[in-house]
């Protein structure tokens, strides 16, 4: 029983990270139908820039803010210099561009930063919290609460604000969006900035637990993608639930079967979703009549 509780806590913690990555996917996907595989790099940049700014003497909150703003700027640049010039290209080409961009960002980080593992101090100390017979790190609570806060924010954004609807409208029909007065170029800029900022925030929250190095982005993008697929691409609720479920699957597999199989869980989930329910748990079937 205690062991199960322990697995659940660790599953929820990593699951919250996957959920944050998946939430980042949601925005760009909603605005453009593009799955941005550089999303994992945003998480890495969030962690790395915070570490280097913190080591340079900035207080932690300021270092984190610097990282989030800088990563958002990199997201905007990615849109401006890689996605926008290729406008009109098929979505698959745009996705390949994001994969190229992720390789570029990783390479540049290796040169600008280094190849070492880095860590940050936990925000609220390292004393474990005892809860229901198992222990939980305070930093895990930061990560889980962070994921929920971002989820609620995004959910309100897409369902309650006109700007959120404008993002959805831009993805659905860019031409019509312009006809109703939406500046679709700005919507794209905003989406990349927001996605990148959320990714960076995930990096800041998780670095005290998992450490960060230039190459953590690949794995995170893959896990986040599996989570988003599971929940239904484009749906914030799907991203949150998908992320948490994937984290739990992984932790339980590692705990009860073998940690060697843990990494395979994401692939199994992707395949299972593709075969059984391509629209995911909460994804809407697209209705269209011609």
């Amino acid at each position: 029983m205690d062991a199960l509780m322990q697995f659940i806590y660790s599953g929820l913690t990593v699951g919250a990270v996957y959920a944050l990555v998946a939430l980042g996917f949601t925005i760009i996907y909603n605005a453009s139908d593009v799955v941005n595989f550089a999303q994992g790099e945003f998480v890495m940049l969030g962690g790395m820039i915070t570490v280097f700014a913190f080591d340079a003497g900035l207080p932690l909150p300021l270092a984190a803010l610097t990282a989030i703003v800088a990563t958002a700027a990199i997201g905007v640049a990615l849109n401006k210099f890689a996605i926008e010039p290729a406008r009109g290209a098929p979505v698959v080409s745009l996705i390949i561009i994001t994969i190229g961009a992720s390789i570029l960002i990783r390479g540049a980080s290796q040169v600008i930063f280094d190849k070492q593992l880095h860590r940050l101090p936990a925000f609220s100390g390292d004393d474990p919290i005892h809860l229901l017979g198992a222990t939980l790190l305070p930093q895990s609570l930061w990560v889980i609460c962070g994921a929920f806060a971002i989820f609620i924010g995004l959910w309100l954004f897409f369902t309650r604000t006109l700007l959120g609807k404008a993002v959805l409208a831009t993805a659905n029909n860019r031409l019509a969006a312009q006809l109703v007065g939406i500046n679709t170029g700005f919507v794209m800029t905003l989406s990349f900035a927001l996605s990148a900022a959320i990714g960076a925030l995930a990096g800041v929250l998780v670095t005290p637990i998992t450490l960060v190095s230039y190459d953590v982005g690949v794995g995170l993008a893959l896990k986040g993608f599996a989570a988003a697929m599971l929940g239904g691409m484009g749906n914030p609720k799907g991203a949150l639930v998908g992320g948490l479920l994937l984290g739990l699957f992984e932790a339980l597999t590692a705990g009860y079967i073998s940690s060697q199989y843990k990494e395979a869980v994401a692939f199994v989930v992707i395949l299972a979703v593709l075969f059984v329910m391509p629209q995911g748990l909460f994804g809407e079937k697209k209705t269209e009549r011609v």
Binding site: L162, N173, L175, A176, Q178, N183, T287
Partner: protein, 233 residues
């Protein structure tokens, strides 16, 4: 209100508008009729800014429009219900209408939406359904209603009767006619020349990228050349 002079436009190297002259005065209903491929849609796309023009001038309420990007033209008072309806299929009927008034946040938005529902009661019934599930006629109503939510001075309508059953065509034309009372100027593009000329004040006949005839709608309906070529009489 709207004046077009020597307008040219091309797809790649192929010019499809060879110098269009046309004007629409305030509160008029003007129609441009022409056969399949004449360039009617291209003309409207140039007016709404979704297709670049390669020459000529567009002036709207005193301002040059040619260099204004598409998304800023609604703010100037020019709204378009485009060919193929182009509604937001994944969003609900109500969300489509709300986005039609994207530029506005005042109380008039709710009132305009009620007006839209009064004009097309079926849309009210289906307000919470995804717009992609509507029938062709309902989608056309939604496209027109959405364009009106933007509070246009001038409404550009691209073949609202296309693909609709005769009864629906009559209903749509009635609505267009009723825009007169709302003081909305209308530029209506149609292959259905007879239906369009019947409700219009003036008309233009377009053939392969050129205006070949212009005049009062009643005169055009009576013109033997029009009757032969477009009315099948």
């Amino acid at each position: 209100m709207l004046s077009v002079e020597g307008l040219r436009s091309a797809y790649g190297h192929i010019e499809v508008l060879h110098g269009i002259d046309l004007n629409v005065s305030s509160k008029e209903i003007v129609t441009v009729v022409g056969a399949n491929g004449a360039g009617k849609t291209t003309l409207l796309k140039c007016l709404s800014g979704t297709q670049p023009s390669t020459g000529g001038d567009i002036r709207f309420r005193g301002d040059a429009l040619t260099s204004v990007p598409a998304f800023k033209r609604l703010k100037r008072g020019l709204s378009q219900s485009p060919e193929g309806r182009q509604i937001f299929t994944n969003l609900s009927v109500e969300e489509n209408l709300r986005l039609g008034a994207f530029l506005f946040t005042d109380e008039r938005v709710d009132k305009d939406m009620e007006d839209a529902f009064q004009m097309f009661p079926i849309l009210k019934e289906k307000r919470n359904l995804a717009a992609g599930g509507l029938s062709g006629g309902q989608q056309q109503m939604l496209a027109i209603a959405r364009a009106l939510m933007g509070r246009p001075h001038c409404l550009l309508l691209d073949e609202p009767s296309m693909g609709l059953a005769p009864l629906l065509v009559a209903q749509i034309f009635d609505v267009v006619k009723s825009l007169r009372e709302r003081e909305v100027t209308v530029l209506l593009v149609e292959q259905n020349a007879f239906g369009a000329l019947k409700i219009a004040d003036r008309g233009y006949v377009m053939e392969t990228g050129r205006i070949t005839l212009a005049g009062a709608a009643a005169e055009l309906i009576a013109d033997p050349r029009v009757r032969e070529a477009y009315l099948g009489i």
